[in-house]
């Protein structure tokens, strides 16, 4: 287990950090999805949970949302224990994923006004109008959500996630299956939102391109464990690579990182995995 202490990314101020995870384990019988991870996410930061399929990203996000209970360990969101007091903080956070739908027969407006009321937005209609304008939803606001294109659905899902102007926004592969233009637009909107709100973003992804553009800190997961943690530039330097994809491949294929090559007898990257 690589337990990441507070260090440069953590809040030092009086307010508790948006996310504190300690010794988090999630097992399903003999299968361990998350194997004792720990990290703290600083307020106003953009962090990516990066890993391959089955690395434990989505399970970790689901535990942060309170949808899955940990086997052991502790999750605090804004200082509140998520297992016991999640309703104290749920209105301060939100989530977006292409794998979670909105009711398809309801119009976009009806969907968004429902979630605005659930999250306690004081004036739902005004909030929906503002979001519709900002996210270019006006033209299909009164159409059923099920009749929209994938790109339009993603914009609606983003509007749902921003309905309460969350201080903490969790994203699970937010641009999966989008064309490059729409994906870039979504990333830009998320960055704008984060900068303007000072919100904290935690992004689960295996899209290296996205992570390089979105995240200022990367936590790499492999088989439910944290195997790396640092700024993208730090990781590139540490592994002697030019992009995160190569770093990722080095890690999942079991190669040792670049500093090994400077050690005696360490000319080649040693790996148990496949050749590139």
């Amino acid at each position: 287990m690589l337990d990441i202490p507070a260090s440069p990314h953590n809040d030092i101020g009086a307010a508790p950090p948006p996310i504190t995870v300690k010794d988090l384990v999630k097992s399903y019988g003999p299968v361990t999805a998350v194997a004792g991870i720990g990290f703290t996410i600083a307020s106003g930061s953009r962090t990516a949970l990066l890993g391959g399929n089955g690395a434990g990203k989505t399970t970790t996000i689901a535990m942060l949302l309170g949808l899955i209970l940990p086997t052991s360990g502790k999750i605090s969101i804004f200082g509140e224990d998520m297992t016991r007091h999640r309703y104290r903080v749920l209105h301060r956070m939100n989530f977006v994923s292409p794998y979670v739908n909105l009711p398809m027969r309801l119009t976009v407006r009806q969907n968004l006004e429902t979630f605005a009321s659930l999250y306690g937005v004081a004036r739902p209609s005004e909030r929906v109008a503002d979001l519709a304008h900002e996210l270019r939803l006006d033209e299909f606001l009164d159409r059923p959500a099920g009749s929209l294109s994938a790109g339009q659905k993603t914009r609606v899902a983003l509007a749902k996630a921003l309905i309460n102007a969350p201080e903490l926004l969790l994203l699970d592969e937010p641009t999966a299956s989008l064309d490059p233009d729409t994906a870039d637009w979504v990333r830009a909107k998320l960055r704008d939102y984060q900068a303007a709100r000072g919100a904290t973003l935690l992004l689960a992804s295996h899209n290296m391109f996205e992570v390089e553009r979105m995240a200022e800190r990367v936590i790499m997961l492999e088989k439910g464990r944290i195997v790396e943690d640092g700024a993208p530039a730090e990781l590139l330097s540490r592994y002697g690579r030019e992009n995160l994809e190569d770093v990722f491949l080095d890690i999942v294929r079991g190669r040792q990182h670049a500093m090994t090559r400077d050690e005696p007898g360490g000319k080649e990257l040693q790996g148990a995995g496949h050749a590139p």
Partner: protein
């Protein structure tokens, strides 16, 4: 503005707003679809016509039914109150499953108790839409006025609806725990009561060993009460009180069971996989 939403999240007012948001969400689905409205009335209407004609035939051929005009049609209308209250409660919940929206709901500040209250409310609305026209038509076609039961009808109605919600709550919990593979339980659970709770015949008809089981079911006391009213012109408040007491006990147990199922689903990770 993307980053500016004023929230009102605390206190009873906020809770009622969340409940109302869910009721409105289900209301959109019903009122936005004429086929759904017609479907709500279809089976109660068919049942009423079937049993109404049978009643008419029996009244002409047997002295018992001649003396107790409306007993069969009264039974079928009361049975439909039980059936439709459970279906209304469960169907609204299944809408979330079918649209893969349940995880969105469960990660919002809406609490389980508030969600259950919203399902009860929409169940009542669906019940009124389904049964009021049918009750009026029963009077028109067969001269049976359910409202002539007066205050007794209120007691019958409350007990049957309460029982329907209890069954619906257990069925919803089973689906949360075991996924849509257990959906059929929602549609068949209530029919187990049909032969046991003496809808169309007196309790004495059942074999001795089954009678205590029947008496442990709240609807049995309602149907016995209905027969006492129609056949003996006697309202039996004692039966209604027994039914009410049983209903409270069973509903409390169902509420606890629902929470256990929800907790188990969070342990098993099922809430992230619920869907079509």
């Amino acid at each position: 503005m993307l980053h500016d939403a004023r929230l009102e999240v605390h206190g009873a007012g906020a809770a009622w707003r969340r409940i109302w948001a869910m009721v409105r969400r289900y209301g959109y689905l019903i009122l936005g679809s004429l086929p759904r409205m017609v479907e709500l009335m279809y089976w109660p209407l068919v049942q009423m016509l079937l049993w109404g004609f049978l009643q008419t035939h029996l009244a002409a051929t047997t002295s018992l039914y001649e003396q107790a005009a409306g007993i069969l049609i009264g039974s079928v209308l009361l049975w439909d109150i039980l059936l439709r209250s459970q279906f209304g409660f469960s169907l609204s919940f299944l809408e979330e499953m079918w649209s893969r929206n349940l995880s969105n709901i469960l990660m919002s500040p809406l609490r389980p108790g508030e969600y259950i209250l919203s399902l009860m409310t929409i169940s009542l609305i669906r019940l009124f839409i389904a049964l009021v026209p049918v009750i009026l038509l029963a009077n028109l076609f067969f001269g049976f006025n359910l409202f002539s039961l007066g205050i007794a009808l209120g007691a019958f109605f409350a007990n049957l609806v309460f029982a329907g919600w209890t069954i619906g709550l257990i069925a919803n919990g089973v689906v949360i725990r075991y996924g849509l593979g257990a959906e059929s339980f929602t549609w068949v659970a209530v029919f187990l009561l049909l032969p046991i709770c003496c809808v169309y015949y007196p309790l004495a008809t059942l074999p001795g060993w089954l009678q205590p089981i029947a008496q442990a079911l709240p609807p049995t006391h309602v149907f016995e009460g209905m027969r006492a009213l129609v056949l003996e012109k006697q309202f039996r408040p004692d039966l209604m009180l027994v039914a009410f007491g049983l209903n409270i006990a069973y509903f409390a147990a169902a509420y606890a069971l629902f929470h256990i199922f929800l907790w188990q689903a969070r342990v098993k990770g099922g809430l992230m996989q619920l869907g079509e």
